[in-house]
Structures are given as structure tokens and as C-alpha cells.
Symmetry: C2
Subunit: 377 residues, 2 copies
């Protein structure tokens, strides 16, 4: 199948770039001898996971219990569900355990630890739990010096429905860094937080086997990972415009794109229309481009994936993308109606979630494989 024969919009994955991105992360972590527990919320694909985990420990991170079920069915048993657990989800966790999963969950609250313990007892199971540590103030977790940290740790270790498996953190703050130097500092801040929390726990005589941190930026720009037992990262396998704007990847590393058809020439507005809109691209705004404006994706050549200078998705409706020719040297003649382009996404994880599959290409216009995805919850 030729890429031009795929019904649009569609999700295109460049296998060579994908494989290079995996190799780059492996090389980076090999220097530190730290294993990767990839976050599969980005690819949500068994065929992609086979490559990411080839020859590596078969440990994975997921963001939904649906992902856990899907990857377990494919043979991945060592699973970290990295969104705070609540009692109403423990029956699903138990079902995963019964199906063979060694699944760990996270939480950051004493009341939650108590409730999870009680529900696990009621269900007749024991749940391994990591305590989430806040290393950047951006989302969830107890700070490493939080007074309640040891109470939560003790509750998890002593409650018969839970075991204390370790600590984890995610420095999403790295997405707001202004330079790769700042990302390196954020990685050190992340490492400091998680190892300090672990030290408090072990000093109190409690176990803390797993000391897990990670994000694609901090994983790739960390200079010191002493005391960390595993790294989690997800979007590094595809990269995207946000990662490029952070200096975390180059344009030629972006492996994911959306194939779209030129469906209109709005000549009185000097604007192209494509059949990729809010649903095909997502409404993730990413970061502003040089002129301060927000764009919804970058237009690249359908075969070479080379960017067209000055061409972006300026705005979207449900099934329409609008591309101004105003700030480019291109004309309507360069984009006949019915011809195709590809679009680099702002945020690969979110854009990919609209599609049931990847059309995998390998540096040419031939589709070599189709890989599936597990979306939803």
C-alpha cells in the first residue's frame, strides 16, 4: 500500500525515526545503568511496545486500566498504573491480578491509603502501592518533606490490604523549562525529591524498593541518576512539536504525523483547507511559535516529512484545518485540491488517541505495517 492510498485523516508512524528514538533513550540510560519502565500511554500499541521493550526488562507504565488489560493480554505482567488509585477501581485491579498481572498503583494521601487498604481487605487481595512524590508543584504528590509522608508509608506497609512498594515522581515541570540546561536542573530537582523521600522512608525502618522518576525531557537531560532505580518516559518514542520547542528533539526525530488531504482553496482569504481538524489533530495548543501565536500542527511534505516553511494549521473546526499561505512563499498551485500533506502534532500522545491504528512507513512512501492502539478507558 502506498501512503497516498490511505483514507485521510490517518496516523502515520515513521519506523526508522521511532527506532532511532528508542535507541537514543537506551544509549542515554545505559550510561547510568538505569532500567527504563516505558510509559505506554503515548503509543498504546503492543506492536510498538515490542520494539520499545526488545531485549529490555519487560516492565511497563500505563495511564488507564484499559491499557493495563490490553498489555497484560499481550504478555506484559509487570505494570505500574501511574494515576492515583481510588477504592472504586480496586475490583478492576484485582481482576488484573487474577489474570496474572503484577500491578502496582500509586497514591499520595493518608485517607486514600486507609480506604485502599480497607477495600483490598474486603476484596481479599493485597495491592502493592508506590507513594507519589511532588517534585515540581505542578500536579500531584506529597513533597519529600511532607509531615504525612511517613504516616502514609507506615499505613501502606502495615495495612494488610497493601504493601509499600516504593516512591515515584513525574517532573512535568520540565515541559516549562526554557533551555536544556534548565531541564538538566529540573532532572536534578526531580532526583533530589525522590531520593530524599526514599531516604526518609528507609531511615524510618520501612522498605522502599522502587525509586522511580521520569519524563522524556528529564530522562534525556539528566546528568546524575544516583539513587534512582528506574526511569519512566513515554513521548520520546514519537517526539512532537512541544519536545522540539524544548530542545529535546530535532525536527528529523519527529516520528508521528497526521496524513491529510487538501480539500479547499479559499482564494479570497489566501488559505488552504484540509480534512484534519480538532478531532484529527486534537486541540492541544502546545507552545507558541516564534511570533507568539499558537498553531495546531506543522505542515510537512507527504513523502519526505520536510517542513514547508511558514505553513501551520492556524485553526481548526471539528473536521476542518485552516492553513494560511500568508507568511510563506507557497501558492495554491503547490497544493492542488485532492493532494496530500502530513502534519506534525503539537502533542503526540493526545493526537494519537483519536486513531485506532498507525500506518507504519519506513522512510519512503510505502506502508509496511499497521499497528493497533487501545484508546479509551
Amino acid at each position: 500500500m502506498n501512503i497516498l492510498d490511505i483514507p485521510t485523516p490517518a496516523l502515520i508512524l515513521d519506523r526508522e525515526r521511532f527506532m532511532n528514538n528508542i535507541a537514543h533513550m537506551r544509549d542515554k540510560l545505559a550510561d547510568f545503568r538505569i532500567p527504563l519502565r516505558p510509559h505506554l500511554k503515548t503509543c498504546k500499541s503492543v506492536q510498538a511496545a515490542r520494539h520499545i521493550l526488545d531485549g529490555q526488562p519487560q516492565s511497563i507504565t500505563v495511564s488507564t486500566l484499559h491499557e493495563a488489560e490490553y498489555f497484560l493480554a499481550a504478555g506484559y505482567t509487570d505494570i505500574l498504573y501511574a494515576v492515583s488509585i481510588t477504592p472504586n477501581k480496586l475490583k478492576q485491579i484485582q481482576n488484573l491480578q487474577k489474570a496474572g498481572a503484577n500491578i502496582s498503583v500509586i497514591l499520595d494521601d493518608l485517607e486514600a491509603a486507609n480506604m485502599v487498604n480497607e477495600e483490598a481487605i474486603r476484596l481479599g487481595t493485597v495491592i502493592p502501592v508506590l507513594i507519589e512524590i511532588d517534585s515540581d508543584g505542578k500536579r500531584a504528590g506529597l513533597t519529600a518533606d511532607a509531615p504525612s509522608l511517613l504516616n502514609v508509608a507506615r499505613q501502606l506497609q502495615e495495612g494488610p490490604g497493601t504493601t509499600l512498594a516504593g516512591v515515584m515522581t513525574h517532573a512535568g515541570g520540565s515541559y516549562y523549562c526554557k533551555s536544556t540546561e534548565a531541564i538538566s536542573k529540573m532532572a536534578e530537582q526531580e532526583r533530589n525529591a525522590i531520593t530524599s523521600a526514599a531516604a526518609r522512608i528507609t531511615k524510618a525502618g520501612l522498605p522502599c524498593q522502587i525509586i522511580s522518576m521520569g519524563s522524556t525531557p528529564t530522562a534525556l537531560f539528566a546528568e546524575n541518576l544516583n539513587g534512582v532505580t528506574e526511569i519512566r518516559a513515554g513521548v520520546f518514542v514519537f517526539h512532537d512539536i512541544v519536545m522540539r520547542s524544548l530542545g529535546v528533539c530535532k525536527t528529523s526525530d519527529i516520528a508521528l504525523s497526521v496524513l491529510a488531504t487538501i480539500i479547499g482553496h479559499k482564494t479570497d482569504k489566501n488559505r488552504l483547507l484540509v480534512d484534519a481538524g480538532s478531532l484529527a489533530l486534537s486541540n492541544d495548543r502546545g507552545k507558541p511559535i516564534e511570533d507568539g501565536s499558537y498553531k495546531m500542527g506543522q505542515i510537512v511534505d507527504v513523502e519526505t516529512a520536510e517542513p514547508y516553511a511558514g505553513l501551520w494549521i492556524d485553526s481548526t473546526n471539528q473536521e476542518h484545518g485552516l492553513i494560511s499561505l500568508e507568511h510563506s512563499n507557497y501558492t495554491f498551485n503547490d497544493f492542488p485540491i485532492g493532494s496530500q500533506i502530513r502534519i506534525f502534532p503539537n502533542h503526540a500522545c493526545i493526537t494519537a488517541a483519536a486513531y485506532p491504528q498507525y500506518y507504519v512507513v519506513d522512510g519512503s512512501d510505502k506502508v509496511i505495517e499497521k499497528w493497533d492502539r487501545c484508546n479509551g478507558w
Copy 2:
């Protein structure tokens, strides 16, 4: 099944509100004796369509060919595909025709009309085409006074691969109106554009049977629909925060919401976390609230759907929604970890697309039905 037993995040549809919204649109259009060709891109659900079309002409509008296939399989044969057609999609159109569809398409360009004609001849079929008219400068279409309008019309009528079925427009500009009076004016602008275009075509001796306009705001606030043969609208069946902010609906008309679980208390930031993030809610920013900030959804009671004053989804990550308690009178005690809320979406069409089904409730906490959706392309 009780609403509290649904795994979260999930899509909840209040059937009573949905039915009232349908009745309200019917009453409005009955005054003008204009039939509705509902845009099913919002609901994408056969079970929903049965109610929307109950006792009405069985004509529908779709935004993807996948919707066309899905609704055709359910018996809806009179279909308008309302996104500009291109030659590479005609094989799919022909397959729909062979399966029994009377499907019309749209375009707004002479070159496109030529290419569609040639490809239809090559395939051995004839495609009914409406010309898209630009009534608001927002997206696609020829203006009613465009010199090329009659050339396109003539090409469509004379090309053996096409027939000229009429004209259509969509006043998406109504989404930017500052008052319902402005929406009424926009409806008149839309009507003027589409009837002027039709008049030029018929004056040139060409047929123009269908004169189609519509958007939820202009359909509900039009004061004159003379000369129009059908109205298209979609989001009116669910409504959402954007429709409310336009004055097009009331809070008690919003029929769609996302069920979510409170997964964290970030006490040092006075913030709740829920398991509905970018994927569960979409990143559609909608319109700013009173203080000028953009929110990603409004928090409402899980059973009554009454809004909690001052509580919004302030920001999202892939699977996390963050809710500040700062500008409310609520405390963490009002939202125990593991308890549930519902969230009104900014833009119902986009939020719903993340889910394979609706859990339908009827003014209580009981799930009475599940309705499916056809997402993707």
C-alpha cells in the same frame, strides 16, 4: 446500574434534557415549516438519531464517511456529507451508493468540480453535489456574489459525472456573536447569502433544489427563513458551555457530561484532582469565563447536575484534571477521595468523540440505556 457504579471517566447523557432539546428545535422550525436535516456529527449514535428523527423526514448530515457508513447500515439513506469532497474519496462514495445511499457531497471550487466529474466518470457513477456558500468569512465556500459561482454550477450540472443538487452554507460565525440579537442578525446574513446564491443559479437557468443553511445558534434565533428548504444543526441535542455562553441554552439544557472520580487532594495547593484530563474532556478551550480565564469544563453534582459555584476544571494533563477550590466556598471535605462529580464540557461534539458509548440516565442516578457512537474516520 447506578451512575456511581460506572467506571470513570465516562460519558453521561441525560435523556430528559436531550428529548427537551429536540422538542425545542422542532417547535422552532415548525413555526417556519422548514424541515431539519440534523447534523449527526455531534451524537454519532444510531440510538440518539432515532429520537432526533422520530416522526420527521429521515434526512441526515454527516461529517465523516465513517458516519455515513454507520448511519446507512442503520437504514438512513438520505445523507449529506458536509465536508468538501475530493477525488480520492469518491470510491467510498460510490460504495455507499451501491449499498443504497442517496448521498450528496459539497465543494466550492471549479477545479474540484472538474476533478470530481472526471473521477466519477472513471468510476462509472454520478454524484449529486451542493455548492458550499460562504456566509460569514470563517471557513469555506464561495461568496454569493463570487464570479466563479455560475461556472461551478454549470460544470456540476453539465458534467456527466455530477449533478447540481443545490447550495448549502454554515454560519459558524454565529459562535462569535455577542448577543442573541447578533445571532438573529447572523441568521439573516446566512439566509441572505444562501438565497442570493440560489437566485443567481436559478436565474442562469440552472436547477437549485436544495437551499440548506444552519448552525445551532442561527437555527434557534432565526426570525425569517424564507427561501430556505432545510436547516442543519447538530449540537442543539446536547448543548454545552459554549452554547450557554452564547445565550443559546440554559444550564438546565446541558444534557451531556463526563463522570469522573476525585482521585486526589492536593492540600498545599488547595486543589482537587480528578481522573478526567485532556483525553476525557478534550482540549477545546471554548470561551473565557467572566474573569477572562479559560476553563476546561464546569463541575456539577453527580446526581442533580447542579453546578458547584466557582468550581471548574482549571487545567488538564492526559489523564488528570485539576480543580482549584480557591474561588469557591467548598473544602476537601465536600469531595472525598473516591467520590464522583460530573463535568459539563466546553464543546460537546469534541468531548464526546473520546468515548465509544453514552450511559443514558433519566433525571435520577439510574443508568437506563447505553447508546453507542461511531468515532474516527
